[in-house]
Symmetry: C2
Subunit: 377 residues, 2 copies
Amino acid sequence: MKVARPEIRSFQPPVRTLMGPGPSDVPPRVLSAMARPTVGHLDPAFVGMMDELKSLLRYAFQTENELTFPVSAPGSVGMETCFVNLVSPGDKVIVCINGVFGQRMAENVRRAGGVLVIVEDPWGAPVDPAKVEEAFAANPDAALFAFVHAETSTGALSDAATLAAIARRYGALTIMDCVTSLGGVPVLLDAWGIDAAYSGSQKCLSSTPGLSPVSFSPAAVERIRARKTPCPSWFQDLSLVLGYWSGAKRTYHHTAPVNPLYGLHESLVMLAEEGLEAAWQRHRDNHLQLRAGLEALGLNFVVREDARLPQLNTVWVPEGIDEAAARTRLLQEFGLEIGAGLGVLAGKVWRIGLMGHSSRQANIALCLAALKTVIQR
Amino acid sequence: MKVARPEIRSFQPPVRTLMGPGPSDVPPRVLSAMARPTVGHLDPAFVGMMDELKSLLRYAFQTENELTFPVSAPGSVGMETCFVNLVSPGDKVIVCINGVFGQRMAENVRRAGGVLVIVEDPWGAPVDPAKVEEAFAANPDAALFAFVHAETSTGALSDAATLAAIARRYGALTIMDCVTSLGGVPVLLDAWGIDAAYSGSQKCLSSTPGLSPVSFSPAAVERIRARKTPCPSWFQDLSLVLGYWSGAKRTYHHTAPVNPLYGLHESLVMLAEEGLEAAWQRHRDNHLQLRAGLEALGLNFVVREDARLPQLNTVWVPEGIDEAAARTRLLQEFGLEIGAGLGVLAGKVWRIGLMGHSSRQANIALCLAALKTVIQR
């Protein structure tokens, strides 16, 4: 053989406490579900589970949208699925940028051939509705409007209801990134009038990374059906995916990631057992407790109080602290992962996640004690 | 709440024996790996595992290609990743169609804006090198050549070495689908001169579905670097993905599917333990045994003997048998999944997989006994 057999053994991962911007701690129930026996992706039992998944996701998103399902790939693909299906070449799209994921939305619009109108806000600030209103006044022909509900790169929460209402007044459809918000703070697709939304499995749902729940309103589906050019992506073309995820006869499209879908199903069953309101309350309560501890350590929040995500706490790294060295100590000495800054915040902030199963007392206690050790001089 | 909490319990899948065209049976070692504790996608321990995965995949593909890694999505995305990166609008691409997956390759070329030249062979036949030679003679300006090594829709194996040599003579790069071949029959990327290849985790590797190992030759990487238009897909843009899967500093691109990668790693460690040659031999031996049993039952193969895939046995459904009803009986009475026909073979054939962990004595015995029951009149 040209390439020799490598001497590599089974991988035994270390046990970590995950308090970064995702993945969050995966509860044992979900890990067990991942190890259940694999069945075929067209097995009647599996198709029944897919239907349950859609119901569970409709509850999590608070929507009656028929087209609600998990894309068989990470959140970035959920994002791209929204843009490549809804944006045709030449369509004008207003995109709000207040962090990394707004930038990525803009990049998606460019690659889909859309005409981009950017609304910018400082990193760490929520999207300013007044600027969105201005952008629409100057571009009343915009067909689509896109914003990030919970900016994972900064920890800022934007006012989705107000933003979507502006778009609706101008007759534009709204695309919302709720990767980090779903399950942690209210996400009310139908009440807010969101036309397309995508999330991730590994944030407040606390499933393993790799799946992206999405939901499309009837108006979005109508727009997709009316496309004049084919979707540039075969895999993401919703007119094809639909045949597998809905309809009387399930047509083979691609082989679904069977075991990760077991995991997502289990995490959504757990969310339904707890109840959405209780989950939101837990995230708020634990945030307040962590906040008190962080402030007692002299750490300051990047985001102003009324726009802070309870599930993602971004604080300035104190002066004189080597932020990367501190995170390495947290990982090596305490098995604790917190997040670094991205983009313009790289090297300047820490992002501390309290998402899903990570949002609990024991994690807060560990995090505060460990942080105290590494920042004391 | 607008959408009420659904009353849905944990999903307990039935235990099946998977002898369709994939997924194949997942061995307990791989299922256990799926349930190991989730770590962060930038954790040093995880990055070490990623490096091991690349080595293990280079062994499986028999290549020294630096750019060898698993795409974080099913095989269809591996396919699309090859086409959206290598095909620029206007590029001429010769695509061989002898089943569903050749058709899908052609569809990918169309969506990428390529100029398509189709070489057709009957379903069930391998790709005819003489027709490929003719296509190149008529289209010496073709930049790319694409074919399916092991057609999952028919069970036919094509002569990859001969086909790739023709393309090389005409200066075209070769893209090969080895979704069903990798691990079951020889796949020798470097010896054959394949420039881009994609596979799936759920066939002869016997991991869970959802990941797509890919590999790109230096010439393919050079072609990608020389692109004048950006890759239409953000997620699949290899110039971006590269920063995460290689290089000294691993840059965040997307959140990798951590636990499924544990599973793939484990399945590749098992393949290396067995050894590639031993795995190929096992697939051949078990095929011969199944073949004898199928022929004793009076079942006839669709593919001529010298082009049969040992891991995917396609037989004509005997006259007078309701093929769907027979599969339902196999599933309900024996917990056995075999595959139906696709496309022009729908309703006419069964596809019996002996892939990876499914290629073993106990499965053959079960399959033959169960088939005998449902086809006896």
